[in-house]
């Protein structure tokens, strides 16, 4: 079995805020490798550097020192425009606070990454609509965020990621603002995405949520203190989500190609 390039490879990665006087070592020389198709939870107390790590993985930031390879490519050497390109094509970010644009409808929100990627409008619209159907919001296409519940909003945010069809899905406490049922729905979608070959990384404070992942990485004071494998991950009940079937249909496959290399699954 040939060893594929890891999706994420941290070598002695450090992130230091305010270097000098009141410097904060948010990440302290961390080594971490995540292979394609993994589903990883990142845990740790508040201030331990989880968000910092996610921002680095998601190419929103560059390490202060150390080496970060994403899909085999060194991130530190990329220009701002190249990083934007990577975020647009390879990464899907899902936030605790959803971050939907309030003036846009669900379908317009889900279309946003494709807007920056280019391509004909009807194709983008279609991908966006399918992505919303895949997360069970086919009946909410033209609702604005203010007209959606928290769970629905987060599913629109996930549809935004699905429409862009990235190789890596990052969630920084994606269930933090949701009740357990909506949280379970989100995790079910994540597990489904993972089954379809996407690498999924989730930051969470919730053990229950974390145990939906096969691997749990624990941080403390910017250091990686534990890296464990979950023998039998929980399976988010698709029963609460009548859409699991839809996800298997046209949803992901029709959401456009990222052109990212390598076989999946």
């Amino acid at each position: 079995m040939a060893v594929a390039t890891p999706v994420i490879e941290f070598r002695q990665v450090a992130k230091i805020y305010n270097p000098g006087e009141a410097e904060v070592r948010a990440l302290d020389n961390v080594d971490l490798t995540i292979e394609e198709g993994e589903m990883v939870a990142i845990m740790g107390p508040s201030g331990s550097g989880k968000s910092t790590m996610m921002n680095l993985i998601g190419c929103l930031d560059r390490p202060t020192s150390g080496e970060y390879r994403l899909l085999g490519e060194e991130v530190g050497r990329k220009s701002d425009n190249e990083l934007a390109e990577v975020r647009n094509r390879r990464i899907g970010f899902i936030f605790q606070t959803f971050n939907l644009l309030p003036r846009l409808t669900a379908v317009q929100n889900a279309e946003l990454p494709l807007l920056y990627r280019g391509g004909p409008t009807p194709v983008r619209r279609e991908a966006s609509r399918k992505a919303l159907e895949a997360v069970g919001l086919g009946h909410r296409l033209h609702h604005r965020p203010a007209q959606l519940s928290g769970g629905e909003s987060q599913r629109v945010a996930i549809a935004r990621t699905i429409a862009a069809d990235p190789a890596i899905v990052l969630g920084d406490e994606p269930t933090g603002n949701l009740d357990s049922r909506s949280g379970a729905e989100v995790m079910a979608i994540f597990q489904d995405l993972n089954r379809r070959g996407r690498t999924v990384i989730v930051v969470t404070h919730d053990d229950q949520i974390a145990h939906h992942c096969r691997r749990i990485v624990r941080l403390r004071d910017g250091k990686l203190v534990r890296d464990e494998t979950v023998a039998k991950p929980l399976v988010a009940s698709p029963a609460s989500m009548p859409l699991a079937g839809a996800l298997g249909g046209a949803g992901l496959a029709g959401a456009g190609s990222t052109g990212s290399g390598g076989g999946r699954g």
């Binding site: 921002n55 998601g58 929103l60 930031d61 701002d80 425009n81 934007a84 390109e85 975020r87 647009n88 094509r89 970010f93 936030f95 971050n99 644009l101 003036r103 846009l104 946003l112 990454p113 807007l115 920056y116 990627r117 280019g118 935004r160 862009a164």
Partner: protein
């Protein structure tokens, strides 16, 4: 992201805040319409004055003693100039005074203008009925009068004035002619006057001088030569310390007056436009202000857009296009409003001409304002750090 998409995104941003966008645009609208309206009034004034100066006559040269009293003009000067300056075809004396004209029981205050034959040619103003003054009227100091059109209608109404007797400051005159209507010019009404022989006028007014000599150059090309020659004649006749600056006689061709006045009105137009331009800049500051507020308000949006792959130039374009839409739409509405205003001015007799140049200038200027005042807020948005922007409350 394509330009078209940028425009769509920017448009969405503006429509999302209609009242604010409209109010912001209002600044540009007022600025542009003020520029258009004021510049067109300035240009209208210039055209009017130009027309009036041209209406004075054709290839006209005026010889007027300066106020310092050093120079004097007599009837002999008229003949003298005609003889010595080959570039002029006719010269006439001119002496005006306010007088009271009576006919029957009607009584009017008007201007009496003492002059001589040749007036018609020099002034480009002909008799409509009867005859003009002839040399014999001058020589014999006859009490004959040619009435201007307004005086005629005021005094005689519909009646034929030829042959009627009128009293000018108490002296009896026979009306021999009626002038064509000519209209107003440079502060005088050519129709509100009575024309009498210069000799008769001098006697009535108790002077042997004339106020002005009006001459006509043979062609506009010869006018400046004529002016130079006449100037030289009077510099010799009335020597002064600084010839050219304190001459006793002011000699000016119509073209010179025209260019002086044109320069003056151009300066006025520029000043008006400049003042209005300031309000356009104020409008631009309004755009900048609101764009800065908008960037701050939408910090999270900017962060999100960057997180999902927007490049700096995408964000820059989004906000720049917003401010450009504001200023261009404001410019467009402003141009229309300005044209409406100047049309309205024309209705209440403020002459105004909307020129294509002023429309284009105002429009380009408003676009420049949008670009100039939009670039800073857009840059500010474009360089936001996505992480901090996403954390912004």
């Amino acid at each position: 992201m394509s330009v078209f998409e940028s425009i769509r995104v920017a448009w969405g941003g503006l429509v999302g805040n209609k009242l604010r966008s409209t109010l912001t645009m209002l600044g540009v609208i007022i600025g542009v319409s003020a520029v258009i309206a004021l510049v067109s009034i300035g240009q209208g004034a210039r055209q009017q004055v130009t027309a009036q100066i041209q209406g004075l006559g054709s290839n006209l040269i005026m010889v007027i003693p300066r106020g310092n009293g050093a120079g004097r003009l007599y009837l002999d000067d008229v003949a003298d100039l005609t003889k010595r300056v080959p570039e002029i075809s006719v010269a006439i004396p001119d002496l005006t005074r306010q007088v009271v004209v009576k006919w029957g029981t009607s009584e009017y205050t008007t201007t009496a203008e003492g002059t001589a034959p040749g007036y018609e040619q020099v002034r480009n103003h002909n008799v409509a009925d009867g005859r003009f003054l002839i040399q014999a009227d001058i020589d014999q100091r006859r009490h004959v009068a040619v009435v201007g059109y307004k005086l005629y209608t005021d005094l005689f109404g519909e009646r034929n004035p030829i042959g009627e007797q009128i009293l000018i400051n108490g002296s009896s005159f026979t009306v021999v002619g009626l002038m064509d209507p000519k209209g107003q010019g440079l502060g005088t009404d050519y129709d509100d006057r009575v024309i009498i022989p210069i000799s008769t006028a001098q006697r009535m007014m108790g002077t042997n001088r004339v106020q002005t000599i009006l001459a006509q150059a043979r062609s506009s090309g010869e006018a400046s030569q004529a002016v130079a020659r006449i100037t030289a004649i009077y510099q010799k006749k009335f020597p002064t310390r600084n010839p050219g600056t304190d001459d006793a006689m002011m000699v000016q061709s119509q073209d010179q007056i025209l260019s002086t006045v044109t320069t003056a009105t151009q300066t006025m137009t520029l000043m008006l436009g400049g003042i209005a331009g300031v309000s356009l800049i104020v409008g631009g500051i309004g755009i900048m202000n609101i764009m800065l507020v908008s960037v701050t308000e939408r910090t999270r949006e900017i962060g999100l857009r960057k997180a999902i792959g927007a490049k700096r130039r995408d964000i820059l374009a989004q906000f720049l296009v917003e401010s450009m839409i504001l200023s261009l739409a404001g410019g467009l509405v402003g141009v229309l409003l300005g044209m409406g205003l100047s049309r309205l001015g024309a209705l209440i007799n403020i002459p105004s001409t909307v020129s294509l140049a002023s429309i284009i200038t105002a429009f380009v200027f408003s676009a420049a304002v949008g670009l100039f005042f939009g670039i800073y807020p857009a840059m500010k948005a474009a360089v936001l750090d996505p992480i901090e922007a996403l954390r912004y409350e």
